[in-house]
Subunit: 366 residues, 2 copies
């Protein structure tokens, strides 16, 4: 049993549902279909092949992935995807790739892409401290692809609309996939490190249009070639067995809960509760522009930065975990991933209210 | 509690010690230092940084790794190492790499290396079905490096001596690392997929001489650059948290057991028990040449191949798991990794004895 007095707002690896943790722990001891631990079974066993199929099916059903897309399980997180995307689709293409520069991870993606070919930055909000998503830009019709980050985990901004373009759209969806319904057909390739709403760290999900994969004509190292994963059912080599199994449990939990529509409503309610407090509380303000606010990662600050360390200590004493902002942004960040209960947000909001009351008490009474 | 009637001879992911599984399961429910699950803690938390340090220290102590070597934790298994080794040390070197072709995985390593530069095969046992390790060969003094596989998991051969050469020696030690003491100073880089004696699948161990890493002068994608892992304490991006934690538990178990000298004696005793039966039992014979027999993966066949399916069924009925040989080798393979009890080998040997008695019963009495 987890400590019930902790409210885990960590940005990832992040909170997972209690029943997922219980079932994962049970499988580490004894995974019933095999009589062995999930950690010591062969990835070639029929039982585990079933896990991979079921996880793929859950991804397909939850996100309504069209049949002309493949679902792949890899390792290395979004960071390895920064490299693989460009190695597969920019390298030797004779074209430029177009990147939207809207946050820390988008910039890292650009850095890795430059190893393989020229990059055009369609637009950047860097000068504004990445507090918003750039919206006015065009994408050249002869670009290799357009790359964006749907949710900026560090800065707390999120894209709710994606550009319409003739070139392939590639999206890093690490921190908001499975948080709300999305139209997969808007994208040609989506990738996501698992350690937010998908499952624990150690697995990377890729959803790719087969046409895009088949358009690659140059040879690639096997482990960096999406087609190798597709053609081998994500089992070209030993996959991260436990991470895939835990992701399956987590996606089953999501499905049983009602899927993306249900979770989307819950996520909206949690975000609204917290943003309302940020806007109403005299001590705090939101770090991101209002119209681009992330529903997953709520970034906020105090008008008096000198109070931030004190409020952090106060919140931590009251069981809040992982609300310290990223060092480049400062302030606070509360991540409201799927498994975070509404109750946890209420507790955080309560901390903010109590703290504000304390702070606003007339000095004479202190 | 695991099923005690199963004897897990799987080639990897493989058997792990009961206490490691129990402690890993407990941490999935509630990891005491944090009051959270190990699956939902930040990899930047002080508690997890301690895990990485402790795992590194265990590797260093158990293998007596000299101070001028770095210990790195990556993802992607040996298969990604096939690519990284050549990308780091062959690409742009103007030199050839020398590979020993002694098995299925060595050949895969060659295939990936060819993407980055020319490869000389020092010697090959392919024509002999990889039933032995080639021994007579020379390594050009101007090679980029020499690459070998210390244990051929599929074919059941193992290298107990490594060539002396002036060029860097790089070794895939996936399936025999931590099975016996080795002299790390013989090597410049060692890599190993975790899912044998290190821990569960999902983590890759690299032990690299700093001089070799520092000799690389060309730019590399971050996630394929060993120096990026070294310079960021294996935390350039989110590492496979649970796989590292479980590896730590497993290496602690090994240390508490007495370390590599102790386990080496146990492993020798298990292998001898099984090889003796293979040599004495009239129905079976060893698949690999006697002087190159692996202590980790024992490959054997039946003189009458038509009996193999029947023996397999008989052994499985008696609780043997994972003894079917790899499809390219056929017959049987019993993997005797560290956590496999002597008792399990005795049970397998017993199956072989009982089966032989049954088979040898005079036909008239059947």
């Amino acid at each position: 049993m987890k400590n019930l007095h902790k409210h885990n707002f960590g940005a990832g690896p992040c909170i997972l549902p209690e029943e997922v943790l219980d079932n994962a722990a049970e499988a580490v001891k004894n995974w019933r279909p095999t009589g062995l631990s999930i950690l010591e079974i062969s990835h070639r066993s029929a039982a585990f092949e079933e896990v991979v199929k079921e996880t793929e099916k859950l991804v397909r059903d939850l996100l309504q992935v069209p049949h002309n897309y493949s679902i792949l399980f890899l390792q290395g997180g979004a960071s390895l995807q920064f490299c693989m995307v460009a190695f597969n689709f920019l390298h030797n293409s004779g074209k430029d790739a177009v990147y939207l520069d809207a946050g820390y991870f988008g910039q890292k993606a650009i850095k890795e892409a430059l190893f393989f070919g020229p990059v055009n930055v369609a637009a950047s909000s860097r000068g504004a401290g990445y507090t918003h998503i750039p919206k006015e830009y065009s994408i050249s019709a002869d670009a290799a692809y357009f790359h964006c980050t749907s949710n900026n985990t560090i800065e707390g901004t999120e894209m709710f609309r994606f550009p319409e373009t003739e070139v392939p759209v590639i999206c890093d969806m690490s921190s908001d996939i499975f948080s709300r319904p999305i139209d997969i057909s808007q994208f040609d390739l989506i990738y996501a490190g698992a350690q937010k709403n998908t499952g624990p760290a150690g697995m990377t999900l890729v959803i790719a249009k087969n046409d895009l994969l088949d358009s690659v004509k140059h040879p690639l190292p096997s482990m960096l070639d999406y087609r190798v994963y597709r053609d081998n059912g994500s089992m070209y080599n030993t996959p991260p067995v436990f991470a895939i199994y835990a992701a399956m449990l987590n996606l089953q939990w999501l499905k049983n809960k009602g899927g993306l529509k249900t979770i989307s409503l819950e996520n909206r309610a949690k975000a609204q509760l917290l943003y309302d407090e940020i806007d109403l509380n005299p001590l705090f303000y939101g770090a991101a522009e209002r119209y681009d606010r992330s529903l997953m990662n709520v970034t906020f600050r105090m008008h008096d930065p000198g109070r931030e360390a004190d409020f952090l200590a106060f919140a931590e004493q009251n069981g809040m975990v992982g609300i310290k902002g990223y060092r480049t942004v400062g302030g606070f960040r509360a991540s409201l991933y799927n498994a975070l209960p509404y109750e946890s947000v209420r507790e955080l909001v309560n901390c903010m209210k109590v703290y504000a009351e304390k702070y606003h008490r007339p000095a004479i009474l202190v």
